[in-house]
């Protein structure tokens, strides 16, 4: 982000914007940056909180009046967590029902996706949109493909097809699990996906497959989040030194 700001400013265009990792921004020193104490992935803080989002933007726009730079400021508020009554506490499905070790990955994932399908549809209706669709494939075909890679783990994998199939599967699950109206804690959603679902176990298994081969070890880092590996193994050493985004 800091690089884009630098090159635009060098060309004569003023820039201001959000910093999510203060230490990185302080080191790179882009022309103007507002550090916000929000989760990665949420530069404006929280969804459907227009007044809060406006306060963040206003604080970043204030930096444009600084006579000289680089200038960096800290946003003083944490992201709103929603009213206690508005926060969604319960997972809409019981993943334990889908878990059966006597059938293969494809069957287990199909069963889980069938449980989630109505929730995915509900989420799409409530939001009026879906962010699914990077792979160009339907969800049923995606679970057959992803589960098949674990049921029959030989052969080469088309990494690009695999990556976007996985991203669509993750999106399908996230949209289904957050279909209910209300405030969803991103950490709780991640816990449902990676700590409880069959898909989460599949992602970790696929990560291990890629990480175990020299030629795909780098790729493994964009398969499973460090957080998911922590849920599955508790081994922090797995994550140390990885570098992606």
């Amino acid at each position: 982000m800091g690089a884009i700001g630098y090159y635009l400013e060098r060309a004569g265009i003023m820039t201001t914007g959000i910093s999510l990792v203060r230490e990185n921004t302080a080191a790179l020193q882009p022309p103007r940056a507002l550090w916000v104490p929000f989760p990665l992935g949420r530069p404006l803080g929280a969804p459907a909180q227009s007044e809060f989002q406006h306060r963040v933007i206003a604080a970043a726009l204030d930096l444009l009046s600084a006579p000289r730079g680089p200038v960096m400021a800290d946003f003083p508020e944490d992201a709103p967590g929603g009213e206690a009554g508005a926060r969604v506490q319960a997972c809409p499905v019981s993943f334990a029902l889908a878990d059966s070790s006597d059938v293969g990955w494809v069957s287990r994932l199909r069963s889980e996706v069938a449980q989630l399908a109505d929730w995915y549809d509900l989420g799409q209706r409530r939001r009026g949109r879906t962010t699914f669709g990077l792979s160009g494939e339907q969800m049923e075909a995606l679970v057959d493909y992803l589960g098949g890679l674990l049921d029959a783990p030989e052969g080469e994998v088309d990494l690009r097809r695999f990556k976007f199939a996985l991203e669509d599967a993750r999106t399908f699950y996230t949209e289904a699990l957050t279909a209910q109206p209300g405030e969803h804690d991103p950490e709780r959603v991640a816990q449902w996906v990676y700590g409880e679902s069959e898909l989460g176990r599949a992602i970790v298994a696929l990560y291990q497959r890629f990480a175990g081969r020299e030629e795909t070890a780098q790729f493994a880092r964009i398969v499973a989040p460090r957080q998911a590996l922590g849920y599955s193994t508790g081994d922090e050493q797995l994550h140390t030194g990885s570098r992606d985004e």
Binding site: G17, A27, P47, R127, R129, P186, R243
Partner: protein, 155 residues
Amino acid sequence: MVRLSELPEYERQHLLAKNLPPLTPSAWRAPTKPLAQMRFALITTAGLHYRDADNFKFADASYRPLHVARDVNELVMSHSSVNFDRSGFIEDVNVVFPYDRFRELVKDGVIGGLSDVHYSFMGAGLLPQMYEASASQVAGMLMQDNVDAVFLTPV
């Protein structure tokens, strides 16, 4: 979040490893007009694009134009990193790409105007210098569009 002191050690070390020195020589465009006369564009490094555009590659310094004549609710995200929350974007595109908020600022007269074309990069896995060519191209198009200032959002 994201206060490094509150993160697990592996996450803290991962993020600190990304500290890089400033680009040189320093760049600074001083303000020449009040906010209410400035025309804005939005740029995100969230890897957003419309479904019919190419997905970003795993490490990719290219950009995608985001034409707002289309519905920004149709934007999808092909960012390669898996280490950030996507549920906020799923719920509300403005969490990452605050287009509705900036339209409201134009309506309220807080800013002077908003471009019809915005831009998306994917901030992942590349050194800052790798963005020089594509960011300079975008700068040229923004100048042509009389954009005075850009609001930047990472993920």
